[in-house]
């Protein structure tokens, strides 16, 4: 589907107070377009919960239940259970959580909801830090990134959250990027068409946290995919298939661009380049990505559920 063919109906209106260049709400707008109005949105504490919903105003054309930070998954189970009692069929229940509400404080509740088989979609919009509270490091922050709790750069690699979700044997797990919006739209619709617990994760480049000019958000998201820092894939019943550029990389049709092209424009990695290049750290990042892509290749090739 081309962008011009996306539904014209808006379920996310203008007026929300996001930062300039923010693709969190852009992604949410596209997600809601894909789902339609018969949707209940659950919003655990995150940027979205604070920038989009200042009483008495709301930019949403779907009902929204804001929720405690740790409780996105549990809230979905409660809403779905109530819908069953009310005899309401065909209502999409969607949790819209940041990486903190997914990787860290939200993990137990998310894991519980997935294991319970709750029929819902959990979307992690991953901007790779606690941006809302002032850019602190999370379990999703990549190695080397500056944050306000890792002034010299994070010393650990991020955890493999989609992998953790695959280990729950979900019927659908996918990654996406608002820089590839048609792919994102398609994956939301596909998730909505499948019964059971579904997991989507979007990489959300965050201009204030990642320290790049706001007008470059979409470009940075593309560079993440082109350099292999963010893979695009989907897994139906555990069988992993890579998409678009990521698929071409695995098939050897294109090379991953040098990782510096993604890192250097971002101020959060500035200390890896200035005043002197930190080759040790850059090597570590390359080693990590090489290993990841070797693993991705095996996942795609083996053709069996993980």
């Amino acid at each position: 589907m081309a962008i011009k063919d996306l539904p014209r109906e808006e379920l996310m209106y203008s007026g929300a107070g996001s930062c300039p260049g923010c693709v969190d709400l852009l992604s949410l707008r596209m997600t809601l377009k894909a789902l339609g109005p018969k949707t209940v949105l659950i919003s655990p504490a995150s940027c979205t919960a604070s920038i989009a919903t200042s009483y008495p105003k709301s930019p949403f054309g779907v009902p929204v239940l804001t929720m405690a930070f740790a409780a996105g998954g549990a809230a979905a189970s409660g809403v779905v259970a109530a819908l069953k009692q009310l005899g309401e069929d065909g209502v999409n229940v969607v949790v819209w959580a940041g990486d903190g509400g997914t990787y860290d404080i939200g993990l137990q509740s998310l894991s519980g909801a997935m294991e319970r088989g709750t029929n819902f979609i959990f979307v992690c919009y991953n901007n790779e830090a606690y941006s809302n509270t002032g850019i602190q490091r999370s379990g999703a922050t990549p190695f080397g990134a500056w944050t306000t709790t890792t002034w010299k750069g994070k010393v650990e690699q991020r955890k493999d959250m989609p992998g953790i979700m695959l280990a729950h044997r979900l019927p659908y797990v996918a990654t996406a990027s608002p820089s590839y919006v048609e792919d994102l739209f398609r994956k939301v619709q596909r998730a909505a068409s499948i019964e059971g617990p579904k997991y989507l994760e979007y990489q959300i480049p965050c201009a204030p946290a990642w320290r790049f000019p706001m007008e470059r958000t979409i470009e940075i998201g593309r560079l993440a995919v082109e350099t292999g820092a963010w893979p695009l894939f989907e897994a139906v019943d555990g069988k992993v298939e890579f998409n678009l550029r990521s698929k071409q990389i695995l098939e050897g049709k294109v090379q991953r661009k040098p990782i510096e092209e993604y890192l250097e424009p971002q101020g959060r990695f500035g200390h890896l380049f200035k005043p002197v290049r930190n080759e040790t750290a850059l090597d570590e990042i390359r080693r990590f990505l090489d290993a990841e892509w070797e693993r991705y290749g095996k996942l795609a090739a083996c053709g069996v559920a993980v």
Partner: protein
């Protein structure tokens, strides 16, 4: 009406079943587990048409319960002790969302060190979370209170969650008889839940928005109004229940031989029922002692205590402690009766951490006050095994 002879928890589950909850979320913790086990069995056996969520923690229990209640269905859960403490954030969430959730908390000691025995600090330390708190002293009272609680919580003027508390093991696991209503009787008393608002995709509103200081104080004010109204409605609903089914356990405070009492014991739950034996024995010895069994801690029964305190000595028996302050019923009572003519308030900490409190203990505490061996400003530690006890 039939007679059921079973442990307090099973009788509680029976009452919950008759109230037709639509969503139950649960996580196991001793000693409440029997309740949620029994409800799970009922759902699986088709004896109860509810969605039963087996969630992975108490925090998630209350999150799922709040979310289901936000969709406009009747909800129930049960917990104890560490579980209640783990829910703390979501307890505020439930009341600030004005959700009429009913929860049983079986009072149990908080660890470390681990203990499963009764202590009321778990619920008393949650008294500022905006939940109505009721304390029961028998299986029959639990049965009747569960049914009344849904009606109270769902009342338009209240719309606050209700926590029903009773003592670990001495009530939860003790076999007692209870008169059980039929489904028709409960249905005639408790109509289906009609929410005043709910999340509905046909009417897309955002709930729980960022709220400025322009509104927050007013929001708390309406909650306080709900609590004040509950002070009237708790006795009203109890009297309506009495008219229909012939049983009454007291309003905010159950008075026992209180009319001419010079000394009035104040206690909750199991200590409250044990104190009746002590009152009878002390009366037989010639002492004018009565009991005010505190059934409701939130809203706190200030007016009743002022009435009961006039010209009397009140003796608060606390099986809880706010460390650094003292017994919670004692301190709240002192605050309530400030300036009441002739009222002295004495306080004991007793049975804290689960040590048994017998009628003999209660007689001993009362006699020390009667004999002038206690000072109202100094809280006694009853049966303390190190120096400093009374």
């Amino acid at each position: 009406m039939t007679t059921m002879f079973d442990v307090g928890n099973k009788i509680a589950a029976k009452a919950v079943q008759l109230c037709r909850p639509e969503v139950i979320a649960a996580y196991p913790i001793t000693p409440q587990t029997v309740i949620v086990e029994e409800l799970a069995r009922m759902v699986e056996a088709g004896e109860l048409t509810a969605e039963y969520l087996r969630v992975e923690s108490e925090h998630s229990v209350m999150a799922a319960t709040c979310s289901a209640a936000s969709m406009g269905v009747r909800t129930f859960t049960a917990t104890s002790s560490q579980g209640l403490a783990f829910m703390h954030e979501m307890l505020h969430w439930a009341s600030l969302s004005r959700l009429p959730i009913v929860m049983i908390n079986v009072n149990r000691t908080l660890g470390p060190g681990w203990s499963i025995w009764v202590d009321d600090t778990d619920s008393m330390s949650q008294r500022d979370t905006g939940w109505i708190q009721l304390y029961c002293s028998s299986a029959q009272e639990i049965f009747d209170t569960v049914i009344q609680s849904f009606k109270l919580a769902e009342h338009r003027d209240v719309q606050l969650p209700v926590m029903i508390n009773y003592s670990a093991f001495t009530i939860s696991h003790t076999m007692m008889p209870a008169e059980v209503l039929s489904q028709e009787q409960v249905d005639s008393f408790l109509p289906p839940f009609k929410p005043y608002w709910r999340l509905d995709w046909r009417n897309p509103v955002t709930f729980g928005n960022v709220l400025s200081d322009e509104y927050h104080m007013e929001k708390r004010y309406t909650m306080q109004q709900g609590m004040e109204r509950a002070k009237q409605l708790i006795p009203e609903i109890a009297r309506e229940y009495e008219q229909r089914f012939g049983r009454f356990h007291g309003g905010l405070i159950e008075e026992y031989r209180a009319d001419d009492a010079e000394y009035l014991l104040l206690a909750v739950s199991a200590v409250g029922s044990e104190a009746k034996v002590a009152v009878d024995n002390l009366r037989a010895m010639g002492y004018k002692v009565g009991l005010g069994r505190v059934r409701v801690v939130r809203p706190f029964p200030d007016e009743e205590l002022r009435r009961l305190g006039k010209g009397r000595s009140l003796i608060a028996l606390d099986r809880n402690i706010s460390v650094g302050s003292g017994g919670i019923v004692y301190h709240e009572t002192r605050s309530a009766v400030l300036g009441v003519a002739g009222c002295k308030v004495y306080g004991y900490l007793c049975g804290v951490g689960g040590r048994d409190v017998t009628y003999e203990d209660i007689e001993g505490m009362a006699l020390k006050v009667i004999k002038g061996e206690m000072h109202p400003d100094v809280v006694g530690w009853w049966d303390l095994k190190t120096a400093g006890g009374n």
